[in-house]
């Protein structure tokens, strides 16, 4: 059944992506991969809108350069027709200070001919930035935000 194949392809892709097997991860993606990760691209230049499966290689190498370990746990998965949606818990260990950062991401995949063709990802990017910096930004901006929302 096609939905079972799509489910397994996405699981295999995620396994290859987070184990750092670039060649294998790319075999699950369409050459014309269209990927958007909704995150601030000024801070994360390798995210945002990307075209072509070569991005997979760039993304894995960039993450490997910053994190000594990357683990992904799929917490929820839904499949309907050619669409697959997941929620994953990512655990990343930073190389520069050995701290762990943890975040949940939502990813939506649209398959074409059995390969990942469209990919969309969401994360609580403000919390992720705080974890990477190791500092609480909410106090810095909470007052400004309250003022801005009133003006």
């Amino acid at each position: 059944m096609a939905e079972d194949m799509h489910r397994q392809s996405v699981l295999n892709f995620l396994d290859a992506f987070y184990s750092g097997d670039i060649d294998k991860a790319m075999t699950y993606c369409d050459e014309e991969l269209d990927s958007v990760t909704h995150a601030p691209v000024d801070l994360f230049p390798h995210l945002g809108q990307k075209h072509g499966r070569a991005w997979i290689s760039e993304a894995i190498r960039t993450q490997q350069s910053y994190y000594s370990s990357r683990k992904c746990e799929v917490k929820f998965m839904a499949v309907e027709g050619d669409k697959v949606a997941t929620i994953q818990l990512l655990s990343l260990r930073k190389r520069n200070d050995d701290r762990m950062v943890r975040l949940e991401t939502a990813q939506f995949f649209t398959m074409r001919d059995g390969l990942i063709h469209i990919h969309r990802a969401f994360l609580d990017s403000f919390d992720f930035v705080q974890q990477l910096l190791g500092q609480d930004l909410t106090h810095s901006f909470a007052t400004d935000l309250r003022e801005a929302m009133r003006s």
Partner: protein, 144 residues
């Protein structure tokens, strides 16, 4: 063919936010609902986790006190028997400042006997904070 629970819930939710009519929504939420919108709760008190119908109705009232929904565009929808996942683009107005806010989010919902029993919502919160502040936040480059 029976209408999927997602559509009934979505209509009732938007009616609650825009018209402050909560009766339809109340009937579509499980008493023990598990609800989470990931984001900075110090900045947006309606983010965070809630448990139980009363707490969820309270947070929806808070959302209704803060924003008005202008447009909802579902960019992708997956429907299971008792579950649903969507990517949605919202056009909102912050009521206090009258500022427009454009928001893309992903949600994963589970239903029990037609009532919402679990929902997780993920938003690009950094972008949301910048929109609400009305200016960019300058930080050093990072990597994910």
């Amino acid at each position: 063919m029976t209408e999927h629970s997602l559509w009934r819930f979505s209509r009732a939710l938007h009616r609650a936010i825009d018209e402050r009519q909560y009766a339809d929504l109340e009937a579509l939420i499980d008493d023990d609902v598990d609800w989470a919108i990931y984001g900075p709760i110090d900045m947006f008190p309606f983010f965070g986790a809630r448990r139980g119908k009363a707490a969820v109705l309270d947070v929806i009232r808070r959302i209704a006190d803060n924003v008005r929904v202008h447009r909802v565009n579902r960019e992708s929808v997956l429907l299971g028997v008792d579950s649903a996942a969507s990517m949605i683009r919202y056009s909102l107005t912050a009521l206090d400042s009258n500022k427009p806010i454009s928001l893309r989010l992903a949600h994963f919902a589970q239903f029990k006997a037609g009532r919402l029993s679990n929902i997780r919502v993920l938003v690009d919160t950094f972008d949301l904070v910048e929109q609400a502040l009305g200016r960019p936040i300058h930080l050093p480059k990072l990597a994910s």
